[in-house]
C-alpha cells in the first residue's frame, strides 16, 4: 500500500513539475499573459515557482516513503 501511494505521489509530483514549468515559461512567452500585463505574468512566475518547490518536496517525501521498509 505504501509503495502504491509513493508511486502515485511521485507521478502527481511529476505532473505538477510539468505544470510549474509551463507556468514559468508562459510567464515570459505567452501572448495572453503579456497582453494582460505584468501582474498576470508575475502571478504565473510566482505560482510556477511555488508549484515547482512543493512538487519537489512531495517527490522527495514520496521517494522516502518508497524506500522505507514496512515495520511489522
Amino acid at each position: 500500500m505504501r509503495q502504491v501511494a509513493a508511486v502515485l505521489g511521485i507521478l502527481w509530483a511529476a505532473l505538477n513539475v510539468v505544470l510549474a514549468l509551463l507556468f514559468l515559461v508562459s510567464s515570459f512567452t505567452a501572448k495572453t499573459a503579456a497582453k494582460e500585463g505584468i501582474l498576470a505574468q508575475l502571478a504565473l512566475l510566482i505560482g510556477g515557482g511555488l508549484i515547482l518547490v512543493f512538487g519537489a518536496l512531495l517527490a522527495r517525501e514520496s521517494w522516502k516513503l518508497m524506500s522505507q521498509r514496512t515495520v511489522a
Partner: protein
C-alpha cells in the same frame, strides 16, 4: 435520532435524483437552441441548490452516526469519525476531477492551444467534480455544526500560541520569517497541541478553509451568470480569484500529500479512522 437523520438523507437523495432527471429531461427536449457547452453550464447551475441540499441532508446523517461512535479501543485512539473519512475521500474525488480539468481550461487559454478532445467534455468533468465538492462542503459544514466539533481549529484564545508553536516546528530560518509574518515568537512547545498537530491547526486547516471557501464562492458566482445577470466587474473579479484559488489548491494538495506521506499512520487513520495510541503519544497528540 439516527433513524430520523437517515430519513432526511433519503429524502435529500430522492429530491436530488428527481431534480437531476427533471432538469436533464427539460434540457434534452431540444426546445432551447443550446450548444453542448452552454447546455452543461445551465444544467450545472440549475442543479446546485439540490446538490447543496443533499449535502446538508447527508451531513446530518454523518453527524448522527459520529455522535454514537466509540472514542477508543485497546491500543488505539479514534482520529476521525467514519463520516469524516467518507467526506474526505468524497472531496478528494471532487478535486481529482475538478482540479486537472480546471488547470487545463486555464492553461489552454494562456497557451492558446486546443486539446484533441472537445472543450465541453473538460467542462463536463469539471462540473461533475465541482458538484461533488459543493456536496462535500455542505456535508462538512452541516456535520461540524451538528456535532459542535472545533477540533480542527485552535481552542478559543489560543491562536497565537498555536502560531508560535507552528513557527517553532519549522526550519529555524523559515520559522523566523513565518513568525515575523504572523507577529509571534517561534517557540518549541512542550504542551500537547490536542487531537491535531500545531502545523494542522495553525496552518493546514485554516489555509484549506480559505482556499476551498474562495473556490466555492467564486465558482458559485461564475455559475450564477447562467441563471441571473451578474455585473461584468464582479464576474471578472470572481474569475480571477477562482484561478488564484485553483493555484492555491494545487499547492495545498502537494503540501498535504508531502505532510501525510511523511507520517504514514495518519494516512492509515484516514482509511480505518484509528490511530495507534503509541504513535499519538509519541507525537504528543491528545
Amino acid at each position: 435520532m439516527r433513524l430520523a437523520a437517515a430519513l432526511v438523507a433519503l429524502v435529500g437523495a430522492a429530491i436530488l435524483v428527481l431534480a437531476l432527471v427533471t432538469i436533464a429531461a427539460q434540457q434534452a427536449s431540444g426546445v432551447q437552441p443550446f450548444s453542448n457547452e452552454l447546455s452543461d453550464n445551465i444544467f450545472f447551475a440549475r442543479t446546485i441548490p439540490f446538490v447543496l441540499g443533499a449535502g446538508v441532508a447527508f451531513g446530518m446523517l454523518g453527524a448522527a452516526t459520529a455522535m454514537r461512535a466509540r472514542r477508543a479501543k485497546p491500543g488505539e485512539v479514534r482520529r476521525f469519525s467514519r463520516a469524516t473519512v467518507i467526506g474526505h475521500w468524497l472531496i478528494t474525488l471532487g478535486f481529482l476531477l475538478a482540479l486537472p480539468t480546471g488547470v487545463w481550461q486555464y492553461l489552454g487559454g494562456i497557451l492558446d492551444v486546443n486539446a484533441p478532445i472537445s472543450l465541453y467534455l473538460f467542462y463536463r468533468v469539471h462540473y461533475i467534480g465541482a458538484a461533488i465538492i459543493l456536496f462535500s462542503v455542505a456535508y462538512f459544514l452541516t456535520y461540524w455544526w451538528q456535532t459542535g466539533s472545533r477540533s480542527l481549529l485552535p481552542p478559543r484564545g489560543e491562536w497565537r500560541r498555536h502560531w508560535s508553536a507552528f513557527a517553532g516546528e519549522l526550519p529555524p530560518q523559515l520559522g523566523r520569517i513565518v513568525g515575523r509574518a504572523l507577529r509571534v515568537e517561534p517557540i518549541r512547545s512542550d504542551s500537547p497541541p490536542g487531537q491535531f498537530s500545531y502545523y494542522e491547526t495553525a496552518f493546514s486547516f485554516p489555509t484549506w478553509t480559505i482556499a476551498i471557501g474562495l473556490i466555492t464562492v467564486t465558482g458559485l458566482i461564475k455559475a450564477l451568470r447562467y441563471l441571473a445577470p451578474v455585473p461584468g466587474p464582479v464576474l471578472w473579479g470572481a474569475s480571477t480569484l477562482h484561478v488564484a484559488a485553483m493555484v492555491l489548491l494545487v499547492l495545498k494538495v502537494l503540501d498535504h500529500l508531502r505532510y501525510v506521506f511523511g507520517r504514514w499512520p495518519l494516512v492509515k487513520a484516514m482509511t480505518t479512522t484509528w490511530l495507534s495510541e503509541q504513535y499519538a503519544r509519541a507525537r504528543n497528540m491528545g
